[in-house]
Symmetry: D2
Subunit: 242 residues, 4 copies
């Protein structure tokens, strides 16, 4: 091992996670990216390599404790110390309360919160002895408000926020920066492009969040000196109503 | 069936749940109380009956969907329409993040949040056709802040708050009052009496919350006219620091 | 002086202040009510007297320190100890930021906040030696959010909320209950009846807050035992969007 | 006039305002700085000029409408368009509620809030026709919580926050970025160095906020692309308790 450093991005399937991985790779970090299917990570890994970066893709179910433990052990042992860990899995579903099945309610929590807990805890374990590192949990509007129809999603995001806040209070004084950015607006993803083309068309006017700009912010967060850390903030398109 | 009404209290094991059941029984409501062990409910049920009230105890694991569904069906069919449903299960544990096992993290969420979801959803199903009813989820300081060492508990309580808020927004305009009182202070329970006798001794000076006063507040909430409903508020001893 | 007690309501000009005065008068409190013009208070005072209560009207400019000091001294000396003090002056105006004159910005703050500070401080002075009393500042949606066009009003209401919170933390442990109810919805006043008749017509369906129900809540707040005090809560019509 | 741009810093008397001016001057902005005494600005202006920047000092009482109007007109006419406006005046005093004089309460509000309103409104007037610009109001812990003894200061900071939020909602969709950073911790100023030397000594360990790092953050805020604007966030030393 040399002085290389890794960034772990759990949930690099959508535009945001991929953009973050590329942004840090550009700064010399080894991008370790995961999503359910390793195969689908290939374009991202290839993309990073094509621009001179180093990247590794891992098929991973973030809800499985043993998988998360093994993943982080493997990266630390075989690749590089994890300097930055980003949890970026969402599970945005909308159902009226009586239509919300127990299965959906549990699954949304497992994906959008429990996986974050597993990543956060395992990242803390390897970062604590080094007294350094950055752990970021991606939040959403639902992290702060429980809107009609979002009992499951808002529940998971509220719980993830509580995790981030509790970890920040515990780990900050031990040198680890825990942050919870709140993306308050649609992100320019393929899902939006396909299902809300009118919304996506606002991209050129800055009416929808560009994943590359989220990535820039995460990089900025990571580089903040420790006398001036930010824990929570929102990113919102200029014309968004709030 | 006549014009009788039932109150369901999930988690009537501690001082608070029992006090709520007694308070509503005094107003003529049939108290349907649950905790894990039906046997342990006997004193409470006997107590209510001794003062002329009607009460039924049910052994119930709030985390089990089929049990919750069957319980509410049974009450509605055999006892009386559920006019009020109160979720009162906590699971206050404290662990540093690296000492928080996946089992604890899941279990705390299942007890303090998932059970609330099941009760809330099933209560909504029977109340919606009647366009009336009150659903109350008991909150705590951890519902609003993620303190060091409380990642699991605060996570569950934050998620329960999101549930309450989402349900309030959806069900309010349909005539159902959903509320989320936040108890911000120690409650005068047996646990406190045993483990924190000095704290408990403050009871006479009002330095620790009397469960009967929580119960009075829940009754007040239930009787609010619908043009002036309260969704969230705190109950806090006068001398509490916050 | 006997064991009589007074309630002071600053801003009894609208429906809410008057309803509060009547509610406490019904409970035996001597209602001391103010508004700019003493003359306009006559119907309220007569109304309370007609139902067997005691009431005194005072012309008062809440923004004038010497007037507030003199008023409270006079009530304490000539009428009865002030057990409850309610600040109920609003100043809801809407202007875009560039249309907000310095005069308006200052005046809204003076009316909706500075007057509250003067009442709160003077009430605290007379209550502290008695280690008892209730001080209530009426809040609004603008106490919590700064909406477009409400820089002046939200500024004053935010500042009033900070006052209430700071006083609650300081005076609670000294036996004085400070509360900040937030009325989140239109109140059934003459202004609404005249200008928004459609909104007012929702009164029968509970779609607009009945001042009598606000008054009931203030009475409830005042009677809370000190181990279970509420500082902040909202009152909102069932069908209100939030 | 050419393509030069100005930054206006109201309250460049302390470490923070000066650091912000220097940071933007380094990026080519003409620093227009104010404090009560123009004379005391001379070292800052000289400092900026010595490093090749352009700076202008103005004696200014931010509470005086005509002075604020004249200042902004003068800068726009004689120096350069104001691209960034920063309000950085605090007035942190601590008094128990009964010791808070009306004069102090008013003065704290005038300095820490009313001056912000005047700057914000006048900046908006010149920025709106250009559909661009950044307006930043410096917040503090007291912007979010009303602690015991801080009725005056928290009132002013809460009101300033409401102003920032209201302006952000109105002006964001018109191309102007309004932000409200919250500094949650002591700042390394001369006041702290003199009065709390132990606290100041934590500077090397990052236990107290370095004004240069606040300045870096303000620069970062200003350069955010408009699809990913931040309105509110905190800056806090790593070891700070919150």
């Amino acid at each position: 091992m040399n002085d290389k450093k890794a960034i772990l991005v759990i949930g690099a399937g959508d535009a945001t996670g991929g953009a973050i991985a590329k942004r840090f790779a550009r700064e010399g970090y080894i991008a370790c990216v995961t999503r359910r299917s390793a195969e689908k990570l290939e374009p991202l890994v290839a993309d990073i390599k094509a621009t001179g970066g180093e990247a590794h893709g891992f098929g991973n179910d973030a809800r499985k404790e043993e998988e998360m433990v093994a993943l982080i052990e493997k990266i630390e042992r075989d690749i590089a110390p994890i300097e930055v860990a980003v949890f970026n899995i969402g599970a945005n579903v909308r159902f009226g309360i009586t239509e919300t099945t127990a299965r959906v309610y549990l699954k949304v929590w497992e994906m959008a919160c429990f996986g974050g807990f597993l990543m956060g805890r395992e990242a803390a374990k390897v970062m604590l002895p080094r007294s350094r590192g950055t752990i970021i949990f991606t939040g959403a509007t639902a992290s702060l408000r429980g809107r009609e129809g979002f009992a499951a999603f808002a529940g998971a995001k509220h719980a993830l926020r509580a995790l981030a806040q509790s970890m920040a209070r515990e780990l900050g004084p031990k040198g680890i920066h825990v942050a919870h950015p709140v993306i308050d607006g649609a992100i320019a993803t393929e899902v939006i492009r396909t299902n809300f083309p009118e919304r996506y068309a606002m991209k050129d006017q800055g009416g929808i969040v560009n994943p590359d700009h989220i990535a820039d912010t995460y990089w900025y967060l990571h580089t903040q000196p420790r006398d001036a850390w930010t824990h929570e903030f929102e990113l919102r398109p200029w014309a968004e109503t709030w």
